[in-house]
Symmetry: C2
Subunit: 426 residues, 2 copies
């Protein structure tokens, strides 16, 4: 049975770690499809839903609920960490995906994720061509890690950046006011296992001389204990206190994660998803004797829709919208990316990039974004980051509960047409 | 030399841990003084400034800067942790305070803090009477701990409560969407060394059946490991994931802080100002095998002016304003407190309470706020807490930097009139 519109349906799935604005991309996808009369089926828990034929019938969600996705964090349809291997190794699964598409007349396949998802999209596109099934595969960029190539920034990143810069500015005001008799050194950990994009963005808070954060520890710069401690001591002597940002991915000079290094005895449970901040803070306490405090916001930073960046939100919506338009226009194996036209004034546009240019490539923090001493960001970094945290986009709040009005979708599944499918080794 | 107005000057100091809205109280104090033509001298770093005769001349700050205190977190004049002992033990210091007041014709002494500050206020009031120096001493309530008696709530608390409830709601949406293939249990630590006020307020996020947070660990309820693990397992089985709030003050059945208990080997650095969350998360991982994540927002929670509660902000301003009015009306050894007139609709007013009813008394979380199983809040708790996080009061943001426009005062010191004074054993 063919899709009502006669144009085929569109499949949309969220992949990997979610963000404060990935649902805004979903909103862009769905609202654009509705304008074009295209059915949307969303994968329940991402690609797992596609494999199991657990397809959420988005037509069952009302207009207001879809609009509310724009201001709701998390992944409204569910996401997953599940990487398909090469076509050779995982051929049965790729074929299953095509089979599910065929069963529901899905002609557009939109996959909202990072590097891995781009890789998967590419393979689905290849196999559908090989099998002679006409499917337009389009990626939708997303990752707080900001490490996708070909795009100026990644939707999700600007909001974490804003959260992080605002948080360290606020906490530092607190520490500063108490520093004579209380905490002298405050250490805040940020996400970024492989690259210091978020750590660098925290540096935006340092407006003016001696403003916090005073020290940033990047994964790109080997952690030299003595140099770090000397800098902290110097800052405390001069400013009265010291605010430190540490990336979870900071490594010792021998290339081990600080959380695995044993720098501070019997701490550092890397698998606990945090621990660089208590290690660094413990070191300051032990070696310099200062009263310290540390914070690990963890998921709070990537889900903080209440302090999302308006620019990030607009870009997240725009890539969702563009992905649909590209698919309907017949583009295949592409991803809408953000092209910066100018920084001052900040102007951007969306353009299509071939997925081959994105899959499995990690964009590194440019070397010229880090100051020579390795402890802060340069003016070039500031020019890049600043526009990304610009603008506010507060969610609506309930006047009685005082809480944001986040939406929960009904997530009604389509009736299955295929036999049951078990995912063996997920 | 007497004060310009001929009415005597007013001294204002911030004490103890600062909050997102203590500067709003300062704003209330200063704007009210300006309306009455009263000079304000603020203690640099709290009572330390009074002892050292380091008095900030507030008349040097312009109107816009004072207005901006309303939306700036931290303590704009500096605060401190410095407790004066009994009059007998610390008589020289109390006399020094009176001497400083006398030198600058300070006739009103406003001290913005918690239990300890109320105690100090009381003693200053007693000694000034004994020495025949006419000084009106008025407390201004403040503490994120919400543990002052005689007041419905404490300015500063409502904003931490809002931050905490919003944060756990957001992070839980994130965890929920990833829970099939990633994190199953998320643990967030909140402040509250002695009482579970903040932990309880986090429960407000649990709107509706099975909504997060699913488990709250209060300092008031001894931590029974087996019962806790059984509950987590039950929630994961039913809901698919489990969100846990743990107060930093949680204790084992033998009365030790969890962070000092050795429950998880070689973790728990209590003096690091955090660690209950990684301990609880580690336990879940070890015993139940779930993938876990944990967060310790630490100072972020009490400085998060960007997500302050409007009710809290209004109350913070109102107590500052009322403190000045009480002092000018000749009231002494009192504190303006918040009286709840009704919960539905929420109505409150300010009234004067004698400081004797506040000093050194800790208000405990009522037993009927905790459910029988010890893991959540009751409807009575919800009725109490809900109005306190109501309303938003975002700070203004800079359109270019994307950051809140927080103010930094000039803090010009008055010329000293007395010989140098050293604080020996602080």
């Amino acid at each position: 049975m063919s899709n009502k519109s006669g144009k085929g349906a569109l499949f949309y799935a969220q992949s990997g770690g979610v963000t404060a604005v990935i649902n805004a991309s979903a909103c862009g996808v769905i609202e654009t499809c509705r304008r074009h009369g295209i059915q949307v089926y969303a994968g329940r828990n991402g690609i797992l839903g596609a494999l199991r034929e657990e397809l959420i019938d988005v037509s069952k969600e009302d207009r207001a609920a879809i609009a509310a996705l724009r201001h709701t964090p998390g992944g409204a349809f569910g996401s997953c960490r599940f990487k398909l291997k090469s076509i050779e190794a995982d051929r049965a699964r790729y074929e299953r995906l095509i089979e599910v598409c065929r069963a529901h007349d899905i002609r557009y396949f939109l996959y909202n994720g990072g590097n891995d998802s781009a890789d998967t999209s590419l393979k689905i596109s290849k196999l559908s061509a090989e099998l002679g099934y006409d499917l337009k595969v389009v990626g939708v960029p997303k990752t707080v890690d900001n490490d996708l190539p070909a795009t100026d920034s990644c939707p999700g990143f600007g909001s974490v950046a804003k959260y992080t810069a605002v948080s360290i500015a606020e906490a530092s005001l607190d520490v500063e006011s108490m520093s004579e008799s209380s905490t002298k050194v405050f250490v805040m950990e940020v996400m970024g296992r492989h690259a210091g994009w978020i750590a660098a963005a925290a540096g935006l808070a340092a407006e003016g001389k001696d403003a916090p954060p005073h020290v940033i520890l990047f994964p790109e710069v080997p952690f030299e204990q003595d140099q770090f401690l000397a800098r902290v001591k110097e800052v405390v002597a001069k400013v009265g206190y010291c605010s430190v940002i540490v990336s979870e991915g900071v490594k010792t000079p021998d290339g081990k994660f600080l959380t695995d290094s044993g720098v501070v005895d019997a701490f550092g449970h890397a698998q606990l998803g945090g621990g660089a901040a208590p290690i660094v803070a413990g070191l300051v306490k032990d070696k310099l004797g200062y009263k310290i405090h540390w914070a690990v916001p963890d998921y709070l930073q990537r889900s903080a829709r209440h302090i999302a960046s308006k620019v990030d939100l607009d870009q997240a919506y725009a890539v969702g919208k563009a992905a649909v338009e590209y698919a309907l226009a017949g583009k295949n194996a592409v991803m809408p990316v953000i092209k910066r036209v100018s920084s001052k004034p900040f102007k951007w546009k969306i353009e299509a990039a071939p997925i081959t240019k994105i899959a499995n490539i990690e964009k590194k923090l440019p070397a010229n974004f880090i100051t020579k001493d390795g402890f802060h960001i340069t003016a070039a970094a500031r020019t890049y980051f600043e526009p990304l945290i610009r603008g506010e986009a507060a969610p609506p709040y309930d006047a009685t509960t005082g809480l944001p009005k986040y939406v929960r979708l009904k997530r009604v599944l389509l009736k299955k047409k295929l036999p049951k499918y078990e995912i063996a080794d997920k």
